[in-house]
Subunit: 308 residues, 2 copies
């Protein structure tokens, strides 16, 4: 059976939305990616770092979902990465209130021996030097490498980011980041330029406006499911990426047709993530709920039209 390796943060988040606020809860990109990918019944492992303050029960929760946490280094006497943010009324923008890097400041990722031959690899949003270090620890190239990044690394570590981008297959970024990375306003042109930088597949995330997948002349669009209530958008992008790579890992098929399904699977899972605070909805999601909503995605997008 195929294995998936996930690199990213495992963190504490404190979130405020118009609907309420939380104390420190479980968060981090690797957490969301792994919980989403786990919906496909696959075996995955996380490479990350936490402090001695990180509850063991959180790791056990992940283990119960077939997520190996041997690669999560625990640094006793130090503190876990902490992020705190407050969303505006429209939930489309937020202010970061606190970013305490803590153990993340000196993170040196070590890929457990069991995962140095991983079939699939997803590099969650982190310093590109950290992402590169993980790529270099895997001697045989995985079947597919997915990279998530953000504007902060474009602003501050451009050349290191370019080196990583040259080595991966799929990049997931939002529309503004795609424009920044390419210098092109049109997303079609942006995707073309980004493909010239390395990744043959470009996924542009547009939040409530859906996601686009580009590969050469092929384009596919998945809408976000129109929801009555969005409660907390935290982790939606990582949940999308986790659903994408989880579907690919389960099926072992990296054709464009299957990547379309992976984009739909990711959009579907992201639609659950935003319904409750933090990881709550993702932890208790059932196969039946997922399938039911996939049917909604079909109804939302599928049509028959006569071509003459």
């Amino acid at each position: 059976m195929s294995k998936l390796l996930i690199i990213g943060t495992v963190a504490f988040d404190a979130i405020e939305t118009p609907f309420g606020k939380t104390d420190k809860i479980l968060g981090g990109s690797a957490t969301y990616i792994s919980l989403s990918a786990a919906q496909f019944g696959i075996y995955s492992g996380i490479v990350s770092v936490v402090g001695g303050d990180f509850p063991k029960k959180y790791l056990e929760k992940l283990n119960l979902k077939n997520i190996n946490t041997d690669g999560i280094e625990i640094i006793e006497g130090e503190k876990t990465f902490f992020w705190s943010g407050k969303y505006h009324n429209d939930l489309n923008s937020r202010d970061t209130l606190i970013t305490d890097l803590n153990v993340l400041a000196n993170f040196k990722p070590v890929v457990p021996k069991e995962f140095t031959d991983t079939d699939y690899l997803i590099l969650g949003n982190l310093h590109p030097a950290v992402q590169m270090s993980v790529i270099n620890q895997i001697p045989k190239r995985p079947k597919l490498v997915v990279l998530d990044t953000m504007n902060f690394w474009m602003d501050n570590t451009w050349s290191e980011l370019m080196e990583v981008i040259a080595k991966i297959d799929v990049i997931t970024i939002n529309d503004e980041e795609a424009r920044q990375l390419s210098g092109e306003y049109s997303l079609v042109k942006a995707a073309q330029k980004i493909q010239e930088m390395g990744p043959k597949y470009v996924v542009i995330k547009k939040g409530e406006h859906g996601a686009l997948l580009f590969n050469g002349d092929n384009v596919f669009f998945a809408p976000a499911l129109p929801l009555e209530e969005v409660f907390d958008p935290t982790g939606a992008g990582d949940t999308f990426a986790g659903g994408f790579i989880g579907h690919i890992t389960k099926t072992g098929d990296i054709s464009f047709e299957n990547m379309k399904r992976a984009v739909i699977a990711g959009s579907n899972l992201a639609s659950f993530c935003v319904e409750k605070f933090g990881t709550e909805r993702m932890e208790n999601l059932t196969h039946q709920e997922i399938q039911k909503r996939l049917l909604q995605f079909k109804q939302l997008t599928q049509f028959e039209i006569e071509l003459g």
Copy 2:
């Protein structure tokens, strides 16, 4: 064969975009709606008003496309409605520079006898009292009545707008207008509230982010085609609406399944409209070009996924 009646403006536009600017060119909501609906080979008529300065050759251009212009009143010695606008660099927002109502200020629409039994009716964006006057001139209710409106009428003529909205079947508005009309931020909730006001079908236009169609528990989403270049967005919303009602008029089928196709047809035609200044692209569009791009819409949105 079914007939379509179109009420709206026939106007001069002067447009400035980052790519260039025009002198006074042909514009107006009824113009764009009619050119779009004409792509379906149907027979339509316009009710509108122009001044003595309006070139006869423009009317002849419409007539050649099976658009009856007997309902366009010509007021000699007065001037045609004139709008001038300048788009910002991202083309998503614009400043109105000039709005000279001219003949539109005292527009009293008269439906030609030939169209008082029209099968389909579309009320382009105008004062709601003008829209209502047209409804009242058609004794037998058309099979489908579509209304386009905007925030200006919500701000200034709320109660008259409510009276018209209560009498129509399909409303087309943008996302911000849907929120204003309903007082709901969530578009799902907004569409529910708007359906309670009268129209059983709510189309929410999101520009480059596509369009949503709501009817009871049914939702359908059509993306905008990702384009390399958007040259001039003027008329895209009217072209969308014209494609929608043109498809319905041609097929005579007002089921939800067929309305999905109508939304795709409208999105498809709008994707051409924005490629050149004003009506230029719509005037010279071929059946083959339309069909080719419909195939692109299918490739953009269609997927096969296993539901277990």
